[in-house]
Symmetry: C2
């Protein structure tokens, strides 16, 4: 008789955003006349820019003709896209990353969930607290997390690194030594960023203790300050200890288009074995490439028109971020983030829990955000608002909260 993966059964409740969805649906059904504004899930709202639409149409036409039709893509992704990434995201920033160290994928969520697979199940992970749920949940599924403590809402074998107001939402080096360290900067959910110097400290630490950093840079396009690194490979030694995950979802609005990539430098080795070869083997065996038309859309992100149009799109969202940040600050809320990231991290007023504040916002002013406690215990008493709404909705949401 077959058996199931018991680790799946340890996972508590449902995925955070499903829980929010259900609450909002129930409220909506009971109050059909209310106009709800959603600043919860990190989904974008602006349409794809013209340069990308044009590239998509062009690639679709190619697929309709025998001479230009494309079947299976090369295992790592098309050279034209990997080259554009290597030049624009790395070479232009002084990072030494070659095109064949880049693996094209259908998005950073998949990669961040799958990357743990090339490591031993004995490895111990460290995560920021609060944190994007996929890092922990995918390790639970693999049997790396230990047992769940439902009162503390933590896993026995995971090292949590609190990110609090006291440390400026940047974690301290952990007391216990991890094997795999998940870092995401600019951060989801807190919107905090770290300086190049702060990140260098982590790279030095990982090299010293023999850990691998899995660096999620999905929000790098939102960086506005000069001393914030866009890539971990801006730090010395990172080629020996770091894997970087990147997304097109937030810099180019590809949440529904699906494209991302992972960088595994050839210098990253465990003994004689290059991690590049293991990830290549996984990619070649359990994945079959991003669509050709989507890879052409990705190429257009790096064209001159694409860059100019996307700069405007990012500025549009960052203008929302600024409106939320300043609007709530003026109204007496304690806020952070929103300067190098599209997320505003808000301290709940009146000692409310995150979910109590969620209910208050939903019921009193029909605004949906994300309870900070959903991202981990140190998120309790905090609340995340995203800048990805339309400008009109963002303004209305902030004004409603201010009048509350």
């Amino acid at each position: 008789m077959y058996k199931l993966n018991e680790n799946y059964l340890k996972l508590p409740g449902s995925y955070l955003f499903s829980a929010i969805g259900k609450k909002v649906s129930a409220y909506s059904a009971a109050n059909p006349d209310k106009k709800i504004i959603r600043l919860g899930i990190g989904d974008v709202t602006q349409p794809l820019v013209p340069a990308i639409i044009q590239a998509l149409h062009g690639a679709v036409d190619e697929m309709g003709k025998a001479e230009t039709f494309r079947g299976y893509a090369p295992d790592l992704g098309y050279e034209f896209l990997r080259k554009a990434i290597a030049e624009n995201d790395y070479e232009a920033r002084g990072c030494e990353i070659a095109a064949d160290e880049i693996f094209i994928s259908d998005g950073a969520k998949c990669d961040s969930g799958n990357i743990q697979e090339i490591f031993s199940t004995d490895n111990r992970i460290a995560v920021c607290d609060p944190v994007y749920p996929v890092y922990v949940d995918s390790n639970v599924m693999a049997g790396r997390a230990g047992e769940y403590d439902k009162f503390r809402e933590t896993w026995s074998n995971v090292i949590y690194m609190p990110c609090t107001a006291a440390n400026g939402f940047a974690p301290e080096l952990p007391d216990e030594t991890p094997d795999l360290i998940y870092l995401c900067f600019p951060n989801n959910p807190t919107g905090a960023a770290v300086t190049r110097q702060q990140l260098q400290k982590w790279v030095d630490y990982a090299c010293r203790v023999g850990a691998v950093i899995i660096y999620d840079a999905a929000y790098e396009a939102y960086i506005s300050e000069p001393d914030i690194p866009h890539s971990i490979y801006e730090c010395k030694g990172a080629r020996n200890c770091a894997i970087e995950l990147r997304s097109f979802s937030k810099n180019a609005g590809f949440t529904g288009v699906r494209l991302g990539f992972t960088v595994v430098p050839r210098d990253l080795k465990c003994g004689d074995v290059a991690l590049h070869s293991l990830w290549a083997r996984r990619h070649g065996t359990k994945y079959n490439g991003a669509p050709y038309i989507v890879q052409r859309a990705g190429e257009a992100v790096y064209s001159q028109e694409g860059k100019a149009q996307l700069k405007e799109q990012v500025a549009y969202y960052m203008n929302n971020a600024s409106y939320i940040y300043h609007g709530l600050k003026e109204a007496g809320y304690t806020v952070s983030g929103g300067i190098n990231a599209p997320y505003i991290w808000l301290k709940t007023p009146d000692g409310l829990t995150s979910w109590e504040f969620f209910d208050r916002l939903l019921e009193n002013v029909n605004v949906v955000g994300t309870p900070g406690s959903g991202f981990g215990p140190s998120g309790e008493g905090y609340f995340r608002l995203t800048a990805f709404g339309s400008y009109e909705n963002t303004v209305e949401a902030v004004d409603r909260i201010r009048r509350m």
Copy 2:
């Protein structure tokens, strides 16, 4: 110090099609004047049909306007596509499969590699021999396959079910009892099919011994005979023991578009736990949906125009299959497959090994096929040719082989 997943290091050599690619590149480099015809890898060559191109353009336009832009897709996939599948692939064939038992994905290769993850690593798998390499390799990576015997080219903990001329390339029920049984009919690589009655025997067996059948029906569009089942759910009891994998790669030419789906019936339970809920959790945590534009392309596969155009496309490839089958048979080769599948399975002449015949074809007549031994020990002495080339190339390849 971190450690790697040791199971990856057990995998011998490289993926079959990479090995072929390297041999062909080397020959090509040494003989730049030779025109090589590739009937090796199962990649399609005909362009997307007009109904699909039109759907893609339409969806691209939607993504360019704020009112119709789509971000993250629903976890299971868009309702419009799941409904079209439920109606056309299941209801129309008398199978009881609901739209919410269908999980849209980016292809059957990914699903067939990932599906093992929801099962215990203690489970024992059974596979046909020869077999599509992904089933075994993904289980090796998960630690379910035991140790590799490099002389027998088999894994110690895998149950192999030989598919030979003696049993008409349809496996017998195994002597040892497996927990997970991988079946693919119409079969890759042999091109063999099983009747509804033969498949019913497997469903009854799985229900009796408490095994799950993972049924890969990627080639069902090529079935031409009436008593061959298109879905395992045409068999009684399959809702209690079977998961079905489907692809759009071969019926609609989506190898470079990437779309597939997996069916997990709600009746499939291990004790109280529905496998549907585990796969939903994996899908929601480690995957983020197929692109909206690609899901619209999938919908067009089921439109009236789409169906008519794709019927012609499948007929085009099956005409190739027939040409290969009859051409080689008349020339004295022993051939099978090609009637309900786009693959022709050829016995190598003169007692040659599969790779010796590969070399002979490549060097003497510049035709590339796939060595049967690459799919497992019982594939030794066989060779796979695909019907996915252009008609002109197929005719020329067969004529070259006949003249050899």
